[in-house]
């Protein structure tokens, strides 16, 4: 068991997939010579050459559109959209083309496409470089959406995403890149759609994903000191999401708090809360609580952004509400 940084884990997954399957290509802005804005594609160009590591122009619509066509023609493209905010420019290709091709062509083809992108604040990058828009994509039949919380999952889930025959949006939280964690490349392959109990507990279930899992865990740590045992469920995948794991946990704790960095209203947490209110209602001993960003754009100033992103204190408040 080695330690690895999140960013490095992503790189390693890319390298291995490219080594094992010559149809895997990566493309995106400044990912070749520039090695990626977050240096995640470091070394790929040198290793695999410009035929498989394609620097693209600043043309998000054509990047994803071309990736769809490439996927129809024998390749497995891994496209990078530098910031998730820019996915606004590629929504047609993702939503009207990639996600629907298999269905609307009667099952004639699959679209083995991965779009890697970064979300989240914490870098004071401002309103157009910090958004968490994963709920949009989870609403689109035909897409899968993955959002790892730690290096090991980043590695294994990216490999699973690339192996997946269908289009997967792989969301990396920027603040995680520098985070180190345990990592065993020899672990059995992961399946998209399986959550992970990041911490077992009995009194309350905290469901989360991505960087917010760390926030949830640190809140759980504090709660432990108060004699409250919180279970933290790391969704890992948002579409599909692991209903069994969430329901199973709620059945034991009877209290549910959902935490994510995205804007709370109409976010991923809404679906989780709704499903529990529909299908595990009788298990609930208290109202569901959602913790998420307030309904405003991500502000630039350090002081503002700090108040904007849900922190451990916000999770604690949420848990206390659920327990009261």
């Amino acid at each position: 068991m080695a330690e690895i940084r999140f960013g490095k884990a992503v790189t390693q997954a890319l390298v291995e997939c490219m080594e094992n399957d010559s149809s895997v290509i990566v493309l995106g802005e400044d990912i070749g010579h520039g090695e990626g804005s977050f240096k995640v594609t470091r070394g790929l160009l040198k290793k695999f050459g410009p035929e498989r590591v394609l620097d693209t122009p600043i043309s998000e619509a054509a990047i994803v559109g071309a990736a769809v066509g490439a996927a129809m023609t024998g390749l497995k493209p891994v496209a990078e959209i530098m910031f998730m905010d820019f996915i606004t420019l590629a929504m047609d290709a993702l939503v009207n083309q990639a996600s629907k091709a298999r269905f609307m062509f009667g099952g004639q083809c699959s679209i083995p496409l991965v779009v890697r992108t970064t979300h989240g604040g914490g870098l004071n990058a401002g309103p157009q470089h910090s958004q968490c828009l994963e709920a949009w994509l989870a609403h689109v039949p035909g897409l899968k959406v993955v959002c790892p919380s730690n290096p090991s999952d980043a590695y294994h889930l990216l490999k699973a995403a690339i192996a997946d025959p269908d289009p997967v949006v792989f969301v990396e939280n920027k603040t995680l890149y520098a985070v180190s964690g345990d990592f065993n490349p020899g672990d059995p392959p992961q399946q998209i759609g399986r959550a992970r109990i990041a911490r077992a507990g009995d009194d309350v279930t905290i469901v989360s994903y991505g960087a917010a899992v760390g926030t949830a865990l640190s809140a759980a740590q504090t709660l432990q000191g108060e004699g409250i045992s919180a279970e933290v469920v790391d969704l890992r995948s948002l579409q599909p999401w692991d209903e069994e794991a969430v329901f199973g946990s709620v059945k034991r704790t009877h209290r549910l708090v959902i935490v994510h960095e995205a804007v709370r209203s109409f976010g991923v947490g809404a679906e989780i809360a709704a499903r529990v209110a529909e299908d595990a209602f009788d298990e609930l001993d208290a109202p569901v609580v959602r913790v998420g960003a307030p309904f405003m754009p991500v502000p630039f100033a350090k002081s503002l952004e700090k108040q904007y992103i849900p922190d451990a204190a916000a999770v604690l408040a949420g848990v206390r509400k659920a327990l009261s």
Binding site: I25, E51, R52, L54, T56, P57, S59, A61, A62, V64, G65, A66, A67, V68, G69, A70, A71, M72, T73, G74, L75, P77, D92, A93, N96, Q97, A101, R102, F103, M104, F105, G106, G107, Q108, C109, S110, P141, G142, K144, P165, D166, G193, P240, D242, E243, E244
Partner: protein, 387 residues
């Protein structure tokens, strides 16, 4: 009989629902007059430009000899007749309420499909538009499964889930018609990348309308194809119309200037002259297979019917509509073929084949069952997740 063409006109349902001709205007019942030239009645700036251009192109034609065309002409005529016959049949089925949704016919534009596809092989891929029936038929989609699809039946090529705007047949390289204007263009760019990296020597081609020239993704796609020097043939089907507006009111640019701005090869052709289209396409395809720059082929043609079936086309000058039959690519090609020995009987044979093929396809489609909902939902993902 249509004079000098070898065609017995009645095989095509020129009179749809008894009221309208192939081009959607009332027909007098008499044989239409063909002069093989350009009708003077066309008055829009677009049509004036088209007339001027065709004259120039034809003047240069004699020099362009390297093209053995005889049998191919018959084959292309058969393709065009298959498209026309199919679409006229669709128009009737639509009028009879047998087709859900809306359909966009390519009547009058068949020479583009037949000509370009005559230069492509089965492993070459194409992407097309909402007005894509002609392209997918010319590329070799099975007619029965085509009709079933457009009619929303279980055994349609897309299992009845896509319909007219989404016909696709991966087995013959049809990556799909598309309901989003311009969206096929980057898909074809990506397919060309697949061909290039796969070293298949296949090429990719995309058909897009003049209206879609306004979509930004065209710009991005031209650029990408140039940077990567991809084997792609961009076919701009310039029919002068973008829905209910002449494209001249929507697009201030010129396809030629754009292609050249990105360093692409470009040629322009009379899109109603199937031999001319084939010739230009073949030249372009040859160059592409030899690693040439991506090529834009602009085909000047005219939309024969409304934007969609049922479109009353009030926005169209009656003079323009009445001039349409005179430039119909099918009789024009047929007349040429007829002048070859045996052309006459060959055309009759084609006519029969086409007609029976269509009737057989329609019959089988009418009998086909309706699609199953459970099967549909299983195809949202490749392996249905268990949960």
């Amino acid at each position: 009989m249509v004079a000098g063409t070898g065609l017995s006109r009645n095989l095509f349902t020129w009179k749809i629902a008894g009221a309208h001709g192939a081009f959607g205007r009332p027909v007098a019942g008499a044989d239409f007059s063909m002069d093989g030239g350009i009708p003077v009645a066309m008055s829009s700036p677009y049509h004036r430009e088209r007339v001027r251009f065709v004259a120039i192109w034809e003047a240069a034609m004699p020099e362009r000899k390297n093209f053995a065309m005889k049998d191919r002409l018959l084959a292309m005529i058969e393709t065009m007749m298959l498209i026309r016959g199919t679409e006229n049949r669709l128009a009737k089925l639509f009028a009879d309420g047998e087709i859900p949704g809306f359909i966009h016919l390519s009547v009058g534009q068949e020479a583009v499909a037949a000509g370009v596809m005559s230069a492509l092989g089965p492993r070459d891929t194409i992407a097309t538009t909402h007005r894509g029936h002609g392209h997918v038929i010319a590329k070799g989609i099975g007619l029965e499964r085509f009709f079933k699809e457009v009619m929303g039946r279980a055994n349609g090529i897309c299992a009845g889930r896509g319909g007219s705007m989404h016909v696709a047949d991966m087995s013959v390289g049809v990556l799909g018609a598309n309901g989003i204007v311009g969206a096929g263009i980057p898909i074809a760019v990506g397919s060309a990348l697949g061909h290039k990296l796969g070293k298949t020597n296949a090429i990719s081609s995309v058909f897009f309308g003049d209206g879609s020239q306004s979509e930004g993704v065209l710009h991005e796609s031209l650029n990408l194809s140039s940077l990567w020097r991809l084997p792609i043939l961009f076919v701009c089907e310039n029919n002068g119309w973008s829905e209910f507006s002449p494209t001249s009111r929507q697009f201030a640019g010129s396809m030629e200037a754009l292609a050249r701005a990105f360093g692409l090869a470009y040629s322009k052709v009379d899109g109603n002259d199937v031999e001319a289209v084939a010739l230009e396409a073949e030249t372009a395809v040859e160059s592409l297979r030899n690693g040439g720059m991506p090529h834009v082929l602009e085909c000047m043609t005219t939309r024969g019917r409304g934007h969609f079936e049922g479109d009353p086309q009030k926005y169209r000058d009656p003079k323009e509509l009445s001039g349409l039959e005179a430039i119909d690519p099918i009789p024009r090609a047929a007349r040429k073929a007829c002048s070859n020995p045996g052309g006459d009987s060959a055309l009759r044979a084609i006519e029969e084949r086409v007609a029976s093929q269509i009737e057989e396809a329609v019959r089988s489609a009418m009998e086909d069952e309706l699609p199953d909902f459970r099967k549909a939902i299983e195809d949202v993902y490749t392996k249905r997740r268990e949960a």
